[in-house]
C-alpha cells in the first residue's frame, strides 16, 4: 500500500474504523487484524469509489461490510464469524478503554446482533436516518424505530451500571 494513500485517505478516518472494529471484536489481536483488513480492503476497492457519496460514508460502508463478513479461526479451528460469539466475559483485560463507562457501553453493544451494532454505531456517530439506511441498504423510515428499540435494550443491559 502506498503510505501516502494511507496517510491522506485512511488515517483521517481511522477514528471511524477503530470505533467500528472495536464493536465487532473482543481482543486486541482481533481488533488489530480487523483494522488492518479494513485498511487493505479500502485500498483495494479505491478504484470503485465513484464519488456518489462522501469518502467518509464510503469508508464506513467498506469497514462495515468487512466487519460483517470477516472470517477468523477460533481456537477449536472451526471457521466462523468471530463477532457471532462475543460475550462480555470473554473480553480481555488489556482490551479496554480507560473510560469505564465507554467499556461498559461497548460490552453492551457487543451483545446486540451484528446489524443492530452497525445501526447504533452509525447513530452514535450522528449519521442521519437517511445516511444509516443508505449505508446498510434499508428503509429510512424503519431506522428510527429500530434505534429506539436498541437504545431501550442498551439501557436495560447498562441498567444501574453507569451513573
Amino acid at each position: 500500500m502506498s503510505s501516502d494513500f494511507y496517510k491522506t485517505s485512511i488515517l483521517p478516518f481511522a477514528g471511524i474504523i477503530i470505533k467500528l472494529c472495536r464493536a465487532y471484536t473482543n481482543s486486541q489481536q482481533d481488533f488489530e487484524d480487523y483494522y488492518q483488513e479494513v485498511c487493505l480492503q479500502i485500498w483495494r476497492s479505491k478504484a470503485n469509489f465513484r464519488e456518489e457519496s462522501q469518502w467518509s460514508t464510503w469508508v464506513y460502508r467498506i469497514s462495515l461490510n468487512v466487519c460483517l463478513t470477516l472470517l477468523k479461526k477460533k481456537k477449536n479451528n472451526v471457521q466462523h464469524f468471530v463477532s457471532d460469539s462475543i460475550t462480555v466475559e470473554e473480553t480481555e483485560d488489556n482490551y479496554a478503554f480507560s473510560d469505564e463507562s465507554l467499556n461498559l457501553l461497548y460490552d453492551a453493544i457487543r451483545k446486540l446482533s451484528e446489524i443492530d451494532r452497525a445501526i447504533i454505531m452509525l447513530y452514535l456517530e450522528e449519521k442521519s436516518q437517511k445516511e444509516i439506511a443508505e449505508i446498510i441498504g434499508t428503509n429510512p423510515n424503519n431506522i428510527g424505530v429500530r434505534v429506539k428499540r436498541i437504545k431501550i435494550r442498551l439501557k436495560k443491559i447498562l441498567d444501574g451500571k453507569i451513573n
Partner: protein, 218 residues
C-alpha cells in the same frame, strides 16, 4: 442522574487512549483474512490443482495404455475449470463499497450460484469419470485385442449361457448402470455436504444477516 449513551460515547472518545491507531506494517503484502479472499484463494488453488492433475493424468494414461480415460478426464476437467474460472471472475466483480444489503446479497447469490452449478456438474462428473475408467480399461490392449473383449471371452468360456447385449454381458451392464445411477445421485450431495462442512456456518450467518436487514426493509 443516569448518563445517556450519547454522552458516554462522546465523552469516552474525548480521552486520549480511546482512538489509538494500531500500527500497520507492510499492509499491501499482508495475506487477506477476508472470507471472499479466502474463497478466491481456495478456488485458484483448486483450479490449478485440477489443471495440473488432468494434464499429468493425460500423459500417464498414454504410457499405461488407457488413453481414452486420460482424454475423457482431461476434457471433462477442462470444462470444469473453464466454468469455475468464470465463477471466479464473477466473485472478483463484487463491490464492497455498496450498501451492506447489496453486498451481502450479491455475495450470497454468488455462493448459491456456484453451489448450484457445481452440484449439477458433480452429478455428471463422477459418472463420467467412472465411465472413462471402464472405457479406458475396456479398450486397453491385451496381447493384440481389447481387454474388454478378452474378458468377455473368458466369461463366456466359464458361463456359455450368459446373456449378451451388443457383445457385453447383461449383468455387467446392469452393474455399471447401477453404479452410474448411484454416482449421479450422490455426486451433488457429496459436493454440498463437503462445502457445508467447511463453510456451513458462514452460509447460515450470511442468511441471518440478510434476513435481519430485510426485516428493516419491509
Amino acid at each position: 442522574m443516569e448518563r445517556s449513551i450519547e454522552n458516554i460515547w462522546k465523552e469516552g472518545f474525548l480521552k486520549s487512549d480511546a482512538l489509538v491507531v494500531p500500527k500497520i506494517n507492510d499492509l499491501y503484502n499482508q495475506k487477506s483474512i477476508h472470507i471472499i479472499d479466502k474463497f478466491k484463494r481456495m478456488f485458484k488453488i483448486n483450479l490449478i490443482a485440477i489443471v495440473a492433475f488432468s494434464f499429468a493424468f493425460l500423459v500417464v494414461s498414454f504410457f499405461v495404455g488407457i488413453p481414452i480415460t486420460g482424454i475423457i478426464f482431461f476434457v471433462t476437467l477442462s470444462v470444469l475449470v473453464i466454468i469455475n474460472k468464470s465463477l471466479l471472475n464473477d466473485l472478483e466483480k463484487l463491490d464492497m463499497g455498496v450498501s451492506s444489503y447489496q453486498y451481502l446479497k450479491a455475495f450470497n447469490q454468488w455462493i448459491k450460484k456456484q453451489i448450484a452449478i457445481n452440484k449439477k456438474i458433480s452429478r455428471f462428473l463422477y459418472p463420467i469419470i467412472f465411465m472413462s475408467m471402464i472405457l479406458g480399461f475396456w479398450f486397453k490392449d491385451a496381447e493384440g485385442m481389447p481387454l474388454g473383449e478378452r474378458l468377455v471371452g473368458e466369461i463366456l468360456y466359464g458361463f456359455p449361457d450368459i446373456y449378451l447385449v451388443f457383445g457385453i454381458p447383461l449383468i455387467g451392464i446392469v452393474v455399471v448402470v447401477f453404479i452410474l445411477a448411484l454416482l449421479a445421485s450422490f455426486g451433488g450431495r457429496i459436493y454440498k455436504w463437503d462445502l457445508n462442512l467447511i463453510y456451513g456456518r458462514v452460509f447460515k450467518k450470511l442468511e441471518e444477516l440478510i434476513t435481519d436487514i430485510e426485516s428493516l426493509r419491509s
